[in-house]
Amino acid sequence: MLKTIAIRLVEAFFALLLMSVVIFLLTRLTGDPVALLLGDGATEADKIALTRQLGLDQPLPVQYLRFLADVTSGDFGRSLAAGNEPALGLVLSRLPASLSLAGVALAFTLAIGIVFGVFAAISRGSAVDVIARLVALVGQSVPSFWLGIVLMYVFAVKLRWLPTSGYGGWQHYVLPALTLGLFTLAAITRLVRSSMLEALGSEYIKLARIKGLPETVVVWKHALANSLIPVITFMGTFFAVMITGAVIVETVFAWPGIGRLAYESILSRDFPVVQAVVLVTTALFIFANLLVDVLYIIVDPRMRSRG
């Protein structure tokens, strides 16, 4: 078990290293890094000074090591936008908004997806099943940027039930979380439904019934515990979907998180910030996947003894 986690940690380290190489190569090999870092209105003298400061006259491996040293000490440079804040600080200050939104989306997605999936499986062909399948179909087909706009138009502009955008009380969370989570909700509903159907037909469910356990225990304990394993496997995909979704949803709802920061810094070609966002997000993503691996080991005893 410890060995598995150790292997994952080493893999995580290499994934991060790889991402840093990608960022490094993209900044140094495509286009003019000096122009990128300085932005548009820079003078010739500034450019020469920065070239020397960045050590761009040095060979590439040396440049990379310097870049790596800066990044590991938390120095991503300063934002080119007004205020000239340190890029890393800017990213970290936007992190809580993103994490809270993703957390809310994750919570409601799991809760509703599992309940939907279970009820759809135990009452196959019923109204609940039909609705769950319809939600799953629409959820997997609707583009989130459009869904966000439609929800905002209906519930904020027309009905005035909820705020259109921005960051604040729980009302502010409803529409962005729904938009961010619908795709995952659809995926989890389908996943739980099909794995519940499989579990409910198994021999160990028969034995649970033979013991005289009430149907609720049979379904929600014995069948569901096994059906959650594929859901945990799916979580890795889930985080990738969440990161993509965060960029889109935060942009649509003007949510002050790192997704919108990434988008804005790209539009304004604020390269130090883009670098910081990409590396921080990759680190988060890798950490989340590491957590999933540990969770997997906890939930499935077969993984535990395997090593």
Partner: protein, 338 residues
């Protein structure tokens, strides 16, 4: 506690279980093909009834139906009565069923590999059932240890923390047995409990089951395709073919004087000490599929003594006497033992 033998001799007028005209169709439609048809059987307290037949004969379906464990579509296609101490199990809802299962009627399934839930420990799966059983001495933990000890699992205390994948097949089957018997049921349905085990372990498990049965005074419906197992375990036997019971009687009697041609053919294909395996006769052809079962006597296309009349449904001779047969031309001679 009375011995099973004395109960048998008393031949109690009210059986523990009495199945009446049980039919299971593959769906609720009245014309859906039937897996089993008009199956009737009864089991006295403490008695062991063997249910024998080739695979596909409907014996597992019968066992599952009594336990109400059939898949939903089949459960909806079920008709007839399953009287347990006078209450109709066939008409029970989920809540009533969970009152009967485990404590009154229990079951041991075929496949020990798949019968245990892979994500819970043995202890948790065992205690779960025990918790619903009010009587018994000692703490839940002590009772769980005793249940494992009863099926002769070595160092039961340590085994409670194990997960199913950490145990061998024979060990798992004992755990399944411990779980099924933990609440001392009055009736146990054992569905080929030993087919997936190797021969020495099979024998051990059967002996264990027999010993526990005597101690608990439990009745059994023993489902098997193996007449050798029937001889060892059962008091009476019912032979199933293509969804129907074709013959029923005391084990010794059936062995000595089979009345149905199918029973005799089955018995002839059982290897004995004297017969060599190569010359063992087998029944020609194979059992018909559900939905393609012949008119009249279902065995007649494979029967050595088939006649024109066999295309009409055969009468049941000796119903109610405990020695019944469904055949136009039953055998009546003493069977010559090779």
């Amino acid at each position: 506690m009375t011995f099973p033998a004395s109960i048998r001799e008393a031949s109690s007028p009210s059986p523990l279980l009495s199945v009446e005209d049980l039919t299971v169709r593959v769906g609720p439609e009245p014309d859906a093909p039937a897996l089993i048809e008009n199956v009737s059987l009864s089991i006295a307290p403490g008695e062991t009834l063997g249910l024998v037949g080739e695979s596909g004969s409907g014996k597992t379906t019968t066992g599952m139906a009594i336990m109400r464990l059939l898949p939903q579509a089949l459960d909806r296609g079920m008709h007839g009565r399953i009287l347990y101490q006078g209450d109709d199990v066939a008409a029970m809802d989920a809540k009533q069923l969970s009152g009967v299962r485990g404590g009154e009627i229990s079951m041991i399934l075929q496949d020990p590999m798949a019968s245990l839930n892979p994500v819970f420990s043995i202890g948790s799966q065992l205690k779960e059932g025990l918790r619903r059983h009010a009587t018994g001495e000692g703490s839940l933990h002590e009772r769980a240890v005793r249940a494992l000890d009863d099926v002769r699992i070595p160092s039961p205390e340590a085994r409670l923390a194990n997960f199913p994948h950490q145990m061998s097949g024979g060990m798992r089957q004992r755990v399944v047995g411990a779980i099924s018997l933990a609440r001392a049921p009055k009736l146990l349905i054992a569905d080929e409990p030993t087919t997936s085990l190797d021969v020495t372990i099979q024998y051990q498990f059967l002996e264990l089951l027999k010993a526990l049965q005597q101690r608990l005074g439990m009745a059994m419906l023993f489902i098997t395709h193996d007449f050798g197992v029937v001889a060892r375990m059962c008091d009476r036997v019912a032979v199933m073919y293509a969804g129907q019971i074709v013959e029923e009687g005391p084990v010794r009697d059936i062995f000595r004087r089979p009345a149905h041609w199918y029973t005799r053919a089955l018995l002839d294909s059982v290897p004995t000490v004297n017969s060599s395996l190569e010359r063992l006769p087998t029944i020609p052809g194979s059992p018909p599929h559900v939905g393609a079962r012949p008119q009249g006597c279902r065995f007649h296309p494979r029967c050595a003594n088939a006649q024109a009349r066999c295309q009409e449904p055969p009468p049941i001779t000796g119903a109610g006497t405990g020695r019944a047969v469904r055949c136009w031309f039953p055998l009546d001679s003493e069977r010559t033992i090779a």
